[in-house]
Symmetry: C2
Subunit: 438 residues, 2 copies
Amino acid sequence: MAANTISLSISSSTVASPKTLHSLQTRGLIPPPTISFPKSLPLSSTTVSISRSRVRAGPSQLMNEPANAMSAVPTIVEVDLGNRSYPIYIGAGLLDQSELLQRHVHGKKVLVVTNERVAPLYLDKTVHALTVGNPNVTVESVILPDGEKYKDMDTLMKVFDKAIESRLDRRSTFVALGGGVIGDMCGYAAASYLRGVNFIQIPTTVMAQVDSSVGGKTGINHRLGKNLIGAFYQPQCVLVDTDTLNTLPDREMASGLAEVIKYGLIRDADFFEWQEKNIEALLARDPAALAYAVKRSCENKADVVSQDEKESGLRATLNLGHTFGHAIETGFGYGEWLHGEAVAAGTVMAVDMSHRLGWIDDSIVERVNNILKRAKLPTTPPESMTVSMFKSIMAVDKKVADGLLRLILLKGPLGNCVFTGDYDREALDATLRAFSKS
Amino acid sequence: MAANTISLSISSSTVASPKTLHSLQTRGLIPPPTISFPKSLPLSSTTVSISRSRVRAGPSQLMNEPANAMSAVPTIVEVDLGNRSYPIYIGAGLLDQSELLQRHVHGKKVLVVTNERVAPLYLDKTVHALTVGNPNVTVESVILPDGEKYKDMDTLMKVFDKAIESRLDRRSTFVALGGGVIGDMCGYAAASYLRGVNFIQIPTTVMAQVDSSVGGKTGINHRLGKNLIGAFYQPQCVLVDTDTLNTLPDREMASGLAEVIKYGLIRDADFFEWQEKNIEALLARDPAALAYAVKRSCENKADVVSQDEKESGLRATLNLGHTFGHAIETGFGYGEWLHGEAVAAGTVMAVDMSHRLGWIDDSIVERVNNILKRAKLPTTPPESMTVSMFKSIMAVDKKVADGLLRLILLKGPLGNCVFTGDYDREALDATLRAFSKS
């Protein structure tokens, strides 16, 4: 295979070809090999702004900790988007701090959008937080079925039905209480209802806390592809109560870590090295480790989104492994694999392709495989996936431009990537053949 | 009835109560009684930038005019919205000027969204304009059923299906070819497809040319109310070829005039007086009269939208008669009455209520009734409408805020209006009782 043989034309200035990589690094659009984050920060120094009483080294006491959260001071990560800027509050017990939520509620009516799994756990608590000491606000709720396979137009219509039947007007607030599916659907509903109402995210999964609730991407799936219908729509705030992770199933926990690992690979080598030391602590829900991983992930995402809200270039790098992963989700059937599981296998494929192109050395391939396996994530696609399934589904990916599929690939030392359509097509074919049957 | 008895609280600063009216006028948010447009402009001076060969006084030659339009210079109305600004091109034969369209096409793929009535008339011409001398562009089309009753989610999904099956990517352009329903649906599809693609409006009805294609309101209906789901999304350009009105049915022609009359009533008394002199010429499709009415309507709308894109106040005044009208459309069944027919009856109701409040004198009531009758538009709702139907449907109107229904009402000399929730509720009840059965 001829690495770096350019068989496809560069389609636009947003493509980070080898020639433009250095230029992008120089202008700060892609991080240079030397990252400014300190290496492997000790935990004690990474949780400064979180109340000490909630930050413990060991996971053993976590499930039985008292909800003494009124004293907790949230960590705040600001997403800087001009007049659409908003804060992400991160901390344990934040759902008990009603003033955090209430300061972002507009109007007198709130619609909480949640699902059948989350509602019994956190709906009452959320309604209480929205209404305590605030008798002018009435809260309605709509409880959707749980799972990616319900992230469709029919389910979205249930949100509109409830909003209209409850006579919610333009000054209402929609609240997303749940994981990524709920956040995406509630956000798109908020963007579209009466052409836009206020909205708040309360993510209850690692996946949503570190990724999907940050940055304003909302939408639903189409039977032919993921997230093909949606809007860029920013929330008023994101409230991350890390206590909600105590009820998260292990498989969901691992799925979220796929996105955490992604941040390390694409732009934060020190964070990746920290993860290599702490992956088991994260799986065991060590609260300090979780708080740090959520904070640092949100900081990375907020930094990228602030520079490129509408994904004209840099933001696409957050989709490492996602083009392959979306093909798995679509081809294998929504809901069979969790999003992070598909992203994990997709990340291995993107890393494999980067290696075939000669863009990264063997050690990165090995380290990615190792950390994903330790996180109990899959490193190969489902056996039923074929090369032609991958190709046909990837052809409708949102990153296709004028017929050219652009991919996020690693290039250079750990923590560097490119978003490019300028790659040897044979490398893509070879990766697809290596990971799926013809 | 106690006029001006204030029984409802002012719900926000966007309400133009009597107290704030003067302030709004002073700040230029609502036009003062003295309008700066010259009175009754002679036609010859209003069509300056339209090719003389296309501007004739009489309608008799219109149907057989040669398509000698390459020489036509379009009138351009700019909609000033910062980085979302766009031009409205107005003129006869503009669909023959392929360079106008092509300069606004992004990417290599175009999806034309049209309907069963317009497609046989103008689809080939539009495809030709998009592709002539431009072999890199491929054009797909989707032909929807015709009518307001199809402005729903099921029909919208046909646009997404076609776009995805045709593998349209983020650099594609959607083109709306048709009336207001097509423009609203295509615009919302463009806003949502891959979270937003470029879009162009080619309105083919008076209604769409003077109103719905200008200003970026897009959306679909819900069974419980009109336009409840949608987005604010601006086109790249609007291309108004007034020749397309030659094939418009008389009833559609009259329907569009309801919106033209609206501009006069809410902010442009001179335009209203011009209409009183020229309403028969408009119905007879006098091309010069039409070109002037379209241009002046677009200027009025562009001026309002530029000041208040997201309808926080002033823009709502464009909805004179629409709250009553939407109730008629929803209650009577989408598609039974045309939008402008419902707006006409709704305008008479709003004017009646303004008069009951003592805000306008008798002559305005009479002039509004007269011009609508001359335009062959209804001045009362369908007999099947009841007071309770009006009330329940109006309760979910987008202009309800925190439970208070705000209305656009005329107040003062001709050409002045207010958007307010600060009115005697008895006047509303009296108007509903006068125009519908209990």
